[in-house]
């Protein structure tokens, strides 16, 4: 094994360039500002919330649209089920006559059932370590960009409905340092 002690000694003789005196003044001023306004931390916290809130808007709109469509599909299915129940109660013998074509179409053609959903992560970016204002430990910030797609399908008509929207999510992962 090589002995690097001589090289290490040579390296230690190299002295890094000294910081300018202005840097000391700037650091002192910055620490003084912190001391003067202890409540200043609240401001970036609000800004950070505002920064991320627009991501949640897109997610919220998407989820609201999906919820409305699911509700619509459920109501339609319930109405169809109730109609079938009334027909069954009114007829003493099993109904053998086919239902009117128009009536059948009017109830079944609007029945959509959920057919699946995907959440495609097309970009994940590690934005490095950050210090949250109320945390003494660094946090690794990872930004995920996704495309969420929800699909419904009408089994009778074969029609399909698809809602797709982009979303962005920031995940903060605590980091432990030894």
């Amino acid at each position: 094994m090589n002995d690097f002690s001589e090289l290490e000694n040579e390296l230690r003789k190299l002295r890094p360039a000294q910081p300018s005196s202005a840097l000391f003044e700037r650091v002192g001023d910055a620490l003084e500002d912190c001391r003067a306004s202890a409540a200043a931390d609240a401001k970036p916290r609000r800004w950070r919330f505002a920064e991320t809130s627009h991501n949640w808007w897109s997610l919220g709109f998407g989820l609201a649209a999906a919820a409305v469509l699911i509700l619509f599909a459920v109501v339609t299915m319930e109405r169809r089920y109730d109609q079938q129940k009334i027909v069954a109660q009114n007829s003493a013998v099993p109904e053998t006559r086919p239902a009117p074509v128009g009536a059948e179409r009017s109830t079944s053609s609007s029945r959509f059932v959920p057919a699946g959903g995907t959440n495609l992560v097309y970009n994940a970016r590690d934005e490095g370590l950050h210090f949250a204002n109320d945390s003494e430990r660094p946090l690794r910030r990872v930004r995920y960009k996704t495309q969420q797609t929800w699909r419904w399908r009408n089994p009778e008509t074969g029609a399909s409905l698809r809602v797709s929207y982009p979303s962005e999510e920031i995940v903060l992962i605590p980091v432990s340092v030894q």
Partner: protein
């Protein structure tokens, strides 16, 4: 609770760590002024939150994080920095206070090392961090830190012979 140290405390601490921190920051940014901005931000944040220089791995981690943010912030600047790093051009402003040609040759040899080896070397030699602290600051294992250090010294030994 306001974790801000007294005026004297931060000044003593900063004067001790600032040269090494600046050298570390300049592994990513070529300009000494940019490196000073990064070191200032990192130190102020660290001092406000930790108030314990014993946990200095976090300080170097903050410098690295801010330096990477800095070169990402502006696309043109990032391209310029990437080009400068890829071509390993010597910086206009020296990283070290050089006293003779031997030191000049050694500094050049250090600057021509691959960046992953150089940052470990800078943290070990001029910042006196342990391999554990280096591992924490760079987000690598201790074994990786130790092997990068060994590779750096091996490469330096090949390219530099003390006169």
């Amino acid at each position: 609770m306001e974790p801000i140290a007294s005026h004297e405390n931060w000044r003593n601490c900063f004067s001790e760590v600032a040269p090494g921190l600046l050298l570390f920051a300049r592994q990513w940014v070529q300009s000494a002024a940019d490196a000073e901005d990064i070191v200032q931000d990192a130190f102020v944040k660290f001092w406000r939150r930790n108030h314990d220089i014993g946990n200095r791995g976090l300080l170097y981690s903050a410098v690295r994080s801010l330096a990477l943010d800095f070169i990402r912030r502006d696309a043109r600047r990032a391209r310029r920095e990437a080009t400068a790093l890829a071509e390993a051009e010597p910086a206009n402003e020296p990283h070290f206070e050089l006293e003779d040609d031997t030191q000049s040759a050694l500094a050049s040899a250090v600057e021509s090392l691959p960046r992953d080896q150089r940052e470990v070397l800078v943290l070990k030699i001029w910042n006196d961090l342990t391999f554990g602290e280096i591992a924490g600051a760079l987000g690598i294992s201790q074994n990786t830190a130790a092997s990068r250090y060994r590779y750096a010294l091996t490469n330096l030994k090949k390219s530099f012979q003390p006169q």
